[in-house]
């Protein structure tokens, strides 16, 4: 892991508060999703990001509007930080026509053309070749665009991971690979799935610059992301950023978590990204209690409005079931 003074972001108070706000916004949103799931408003699979918020919040704001994002089925955080409206995201989970994928994707498949959000991909590793192709198009046209591709430690065992890293390095494509290493591929621990658990080293075998960062520290993630995105933009080569993080909740809503000790979860709680960052801000007198309270109030209002939007949404008419299997002829 490399860092130098020049890469340390100048952490203005406003910026620090924004980082905190974004992490809390994801957390509260997902707490509401959990509640709505228990009420059977949201069905299907629901994968929560609890504990990993510092990764999306550290990486995505560093990207430009023209850049592209490819995510996984655990993508609520990425979508919200990227600017997918909370209203259409939650309407999608309701399965409503107003949802960002018109109710055809659900929690795992949030797509949004307006923010170049190329979706939650629910096949582990399936998004990596896509990211390579998006970057290939930009490379061939000479466009100054970076594609950020998020995936978990489980994807590292897939052939598509290796094929994609090789292609991106071989063809010199502007992809930022962001590995969200939460130590479990569903319920299988990293040490049981990988012969080399220092995942970022794998990128080096493809001659790709890589680093690992504390994924529970939003400031560290952001600093690393700045280095990484700048490197991709300047060199037009791929870069591999491993964010070491932890998922506090179950893999999905159907997971009894038989595969890990409560003690392990409690040990990681000491690094919990929101409490940790807020504590740091308090120690350094960068946040006032009323500011923290205001953040909570504003987010709560946004969530209430988003839920109301979803509740008021309509169901896609069943007659439209087979629309969008193919493009509709215009005119």
């Amino acid at each position: 892991m490399s860092s130098s003074a020049i890469d340390k972001p100048r952490l203005s108070r406003a910026h620090a508060l924004e980082l905190l706000r974004q992490m809390i916004r994801i957390r509260r949103f997902e707490e509401k999703c959990y509640e709505l799931y228990t009420q059977e408003k949201i069905r299907g699979f629901l994968h929560l990001y609890d504990g990993e918020e510092a990764v999306a919040v550290g990486v995505i704001p560093v990207l430009e509007k023209r850049d592209r994002v490819v995510a996984t089925y655990r993508e609520h955080g990425q979508a919200l930080v990227r600017g997918v409206p909370m209203t259409t995201a939650i309407a999608e989970m309701y399965g409503k026509q107003e949802g960002c994928s018109r109710g055809r994707g659900g929690s795992m498949h949030l797509f949004d053309r307006a923010t170049n959000f190329y979706g939650g991909n629910a096949i582990v590793g399936g998004g990596l070749p896509l990211a390579v192709g998006l970057a290939l198009a930009d490379h061939m046209r000479g466009d100054d665009i970076v594609t950020a591709c998020f995936f978990g430690d489980g994807a590292v065992a897939e052939g598509e991971f290796h094929e994609s890293l090789n292609l991106a390095a071989l063809w010199s494509l502007p992809v930022l690979f962001v590995c969200e290493n939460n130590l479990y591929a569903m319920g299988t621990a990293l040490a049981l799935e990988e012969s080399e658990t220092d995942l970022h080293l794998k990128a080096q075998s493809y001659r790709m610059t890589s680093e690992a960062v504390d994924g529970m520290d939003v400031v560290a993630v952001e600093a690393a992301a700045r280095r990484a995105v700048r490197a991709v933009r300047e060199t037009r080569k791929p870069y591999f950023l491993e964010c070491r993080t932890y998922r506090f909740r179950a893999h999905s809503m159907f997971d009894a978590q038989l595969y890990r000790d409560k003690a392990e979860v409690e040990a990681w709680r000491k690094k919990e990204p929101i409490v940790r960052f807020r504590g740091w801000l308090e120690v350094n007198h960068m946040i006032h209690a009323e500011e923290a309270a205001r953040i909570e109030v504003e987010i709560s209002a946004e969530i209430d409005a988003a839920v109301a939007f979803a509740e008021a949404g309509i169901w896609e008419p069943v007659e439209d079931l087979t629309r969008f299997v193919h493009a509709e002829k215009s005119g």
Partner: protein, 335 residues
């Protein structure tokens, strides 16, 4: 169907050259088009289809790939989503199984799953079929499998004209199109207008008209079926031969109109019989023209066996003119 004017100059060329010319046309016409696949560049293509194109268009647009079928097929999907018009060559359908995740879970799915926000205007070319004594792992005919999937179109050009013209139309399609080129056709020669252009990809073609029985087929089996029809004609049986051309979506109208006329049908399909495209066509005929039929439908498919190496076994495993003749005569109650 778009047809050429009879006045243009006619050229003699192979199926392989027709596909090459189609690719060259596309690369010349549209800067967004590029060809990507294993050995398409320096080697000239496994079946020499892209020979010479590297020198003409350079390595960015005639892009040799590693043996990473899933990786470069997915890259084609991503590039298509970002506005390019990639032609991915998967060398053979046998290797496409390594890219099946990308084809099914991404290419075929993303438009619907994203609520129409993203499309995948990608063309995938694959060689298919048996007959070259390359044994089980190189002789599959899986186009019927792909025809099962909503969200993609599946083409099987059997003629020089379609080999040249289908790619053009496919590249104009806003959604993914798979083009299956039967390996036994690459050396076939025929005449084609020098300025041959695009052809429709939503219609079957009647390649021979007849009143006694309809023989429905596609791709490499078309020529065997036409041979069978000629043999039947010698016995005063006039068979109508339909070339499906497009396996998804199927042109029900042309099939049903012919069966309504002849009242009998045999489907010839190089795929295995169980769960085959032939089974799907039989079902549609039964659903839509049951009362028109004078005889049970028949099928000539590949035998239910991995395609073997030895020539006599391979030939026995595949549809052949003699089997088609026998099936047609059985349907007509003739021996």
């Amino acid at each position: 169907m778009l047809q050429r004017q009879a006045s243009s100059e006619m050229l003699e060329l192979t199926y392989r050259e027709a596909v090459r010319q189609a690719i060259r046309d596309a690369l010349t016409r549209d800067q967004r088009v590029f060809l990507m696949g294993e050995d398409v560049g320096r080697y000239g293509g496994c079946y020499a289809v892209s020979k010479g194109l590297l020198a003409e268009f350079g390595p960015e647009r005639i892009r040799d790939t590693p043996l990473s079928e899933s990786g470069f097929t997915g890259a084609g999907i991503g590039a298509a989503m970002a506005g390019m018009r990639p032609i991915v060559e998967l060398m053979t359908v046998n290797f496409s199984l390594l890219a099946l995740d990308q084809i099914l879970n991404n290419a075929a799915t993303i438009r619907h799953m994203s609520g129409n926000q993203f499309g995948v205007p990608l063309v995938i070319r694959l060689a298919t079929g048996a007959g070259r004594q390359v044994a089980a792992q190189h002789s599959h005919s899986l186009e019927g499998w792909y025809a099962h999937i909503p969200g993609i179109k599946v083409l099987a050009p059997a003629t020089i004209e379609d080999a040249r013209g289908m790619l053009w139309t496919a590249l104009e399609d806003p959604d993914p199109v798979l083009i299956f080129e039967n390996v036994m056709l690459y050396n076939m020669t025929g005449k084609l207008a020098a300025d041959a252009g695009p052809v429709a990809i939503d219609k079957a073609a009647v390649r021979r008209t007849g009143r006694d029985i309809t023989l429905i087929t596609y791709g490499g089996s078309l020529w065997k079926t036409l041979d069978a029809a000629a043999a039947l004609a010698a016995d005063s049986i006039e068979a109508e031969v339909i070339d499906l051309r497009t396996l998804r979506p199927l042109d029900d109208q042309t099939i049903i109109a012919s069966v309504a006329k002849t009242r009998r049908a045999i489907i010839v399909d190089e795929g295995w019989r169980s769960g085959s495209l032939a089974a799907e066509i039989c079902t549609r005929i039964v659903e839509q023209a049951f009362w028109e039929l004078d005889a049970p439908l028949g099928r000539v498919c590949s035998e239910e066996v991995p395609i073997p190496y030895a020539r006599h076994l391979e030939e026995a495993a595949m549809p052949q003119p003699s089997k088609i003749v026998a099936a047609a005569k059985a349907a007509l109650g003739r021996t």
